[in-house]
């Protein structure tokens, strides 16, 4: 095991990783931007190094400065958290070349899964079902039309370099394709510097169900069951839970087997997530793989009783997986809510500011992962996630009751938050009955 770990991140996830490091007796190093001098993650670490200006590209995305900080602090390993540099295969490779352990998958796996068309092709070759569509970038509108005719409308155009929903366009009928193609190419070009698109069948009202996988360096790959993450807004998850309510046993078995087969096919190591869309008939299709720790990993931890971050550290140090597949059991139900500094009454507009008051619930079955404390500045420069509230119970109903109570007792003043919206979700009959799909928000399901 290594001795010192640098966390190339901020907020709640940096604190989460530091906690796992402390559990293993490792020394910790934080990095921070100029805007984060007073941030709570900075004080959590044994040592902290400033790496640049407030904009992320000058600090948390500045690979050179972060590597320099690692050398300065004599860190033997770097944990990237999520977001920022976590899915940059170039960063993972630079870390390795610097003789430092990257706590995550190898650069090759990150690169393969980052290219959405290549990921589709590789997963299909591994026997994982993907949505009908193209396996290469489509050259022009005529090529897109030919594929759309073959697979049937509606279709979705996606950016090959894609992410976060940028450059995606739903096309309902042949007459709309040319205009949508031009617009999606333009948006993709602007966002990623390349306009390449591919075409897929568009599913109406699918569920988003993902499978946590974990691999070690001797070739073992296990799954840690599924998470239901359908409640989303602009492709950002808001509520996640496990087990996925009402998921047919055959679908669940198929999903976990596909996830393990897919991860094994690319020699995946460490923690990763295979995301799928599930249609109303229980058919499922590979969406993408997140080659890193997910925001919603605590859901899986609460359900299985296992510590994913400690496992990441051990696996990165070369230890074999501590558990066999049969020992990983869904022992209870857990639900996570993401509390963002956004104003749900104004279309989820960002709400930067200073946290004036913070009262967090506690008690049986409640876990909080917070990146803020009273007095914290919530800056315009970073993701608006303030904290995650996770409730677990012996049953889903018990988890929901605890979550509803915790949301009622959670008080945050100084910035607007998504708490009122989350209370509405948890109170809704659709959610209580587990009848969820990815288009619920757009269709106004939780409008009071």
């Amino acid at each position: 095991m290594f001795g010192t770990v640098l966390v190339a991140n901020r907020g709640e996830i940096a604190r989460r990783v530091f906690r796992a490091c402390r559990a293993l007796g490792l020394r910790t190093v934080a990095v921070y931007s100029e805007a984060d001098r007073g941030a709570v993650h900075v004080r959590d670490a044994d040592r902290a190094i400033e790496v640049g200006g407030a904009p992320a590209r000058e600090s948390y995305l500045n690979a050179e400065r972060i590597l320099e900080a690692a050398r300065q602090a004599r860190a033997d390993a770097i944990h990237p958290g999520y977001g920022f540099l976590s899915e940059s295969w170039r960063f993972a490779e630079a870390v390795r070349r610097a003789g430092i352990v990257f706590i995550g998958p190898g650069p090759e796996a990150i690169r393969k899964m980052g290219d959405k068309i290549e990921a589709r092709r590789l997963m299909s070759a591994a026997g994982v079902s993907v949505l009908p569509g193209s396996f290469d970038p489509v050259a022009d509108v005529a090529a897109a039309e030919a594929i759309a005719r073959e697979i049937g409308y509606p279709v979705i155009l996606k950016a090959a370099a894609g992410g976060g929903g940028i450059g995606m366009a739903r096309v309902a009928k042949p007459g709309d394709l040319a205009a949508a193609f031009a617009a999606a190419t333009r948006r993709s070009q602007a966002a990623f510097g390349m306009g390449e698109l591919y075409v897929e069948r568009y599913l109406e009202r699918p569920r988003h169900v993902e499978v946590q996988v974990f691999g070690d360096r001797v070739g073992s790959v296990v799954h840690m069951h599924e998470r239901e993450c359908s409640i989303q807004r602009r492709h950002q998850k808001l509520v996640e839970e496990s087990p996925a309510p009402g998921l047919a046993p055959a679908t669940k078995t198929g999903l976990t087997a596909a996830a393990v087969a897919g991860a094994r096919a690319i020699g995946y190591t460490n923690a990763g997530t295979m995301e799928f869309l599930v249609d109303e008939g229980g058919g499922f299709y590979f969406l993408e793989m997140n080659a890193r720790l997910q925001v919603e990993h605590p859901v899986t931890e609460e359900v299985t009783g296992l510590d994913l971050v400690v496992a990441q550290l051990r696996a990165a140090a070369g230890e074999p997986l501590p558990w066999g597949q049969s020992e990983i059991v869904q022992r209870r139900a857990a639900i996570e809510c993401r509390v963002y500094a956004e104003d749900p009454s104004k279309g989820f507009l960002p709400s930067p500011g200073t946290v004036q008051r913070l009262e967090l619930p506690s008690g049986e079955g409640i876990r909080i992962e917070s990146g803020v404390e009273p007095g914290s500045t919530v800056s315009v420069h970073y993701d608006p996630l303030l904290l995650k509230l996770i409730a677990h119970g012996a049953t889903r109903d018990q988890a929901i009751e605890r979550l509803a109570d915790a949301l009622d007792r959670c008080v945050i003043e100084g910035v607007r938050t998504t708490i009122p919206f989350l209370r509405g979700v948890v109170a809704s009959s659709e959610f209580r009955q587990g009848r969820v799909h990815t288009q619920m928000l757009e269709q106004g399901a939780f409008n009071a």
Partner: protein, 71 residues
Amino acid sequence: MPEEIKAHITGVVFQIPTKPGDRVAAGDAVIVLESMKMEIPVEAPRAGAVKEIRVQEGQTVQEGDVVAVLE
């Protein structure tokens, strides 16, 4: 009658898709702010010509700051 366009949130100027003299329709993005990884357009409240742009790309603006003026 000139009309000031104010930022409705605090953010960093991400893009300026218009320039003085451009005609805009009500609802067109005059500038685009970035805040917490989201792009938020500041829209023209009515149709008209852009008289002045008061900000530059990369500049931080506070809620209520004037970012542009319509003719």
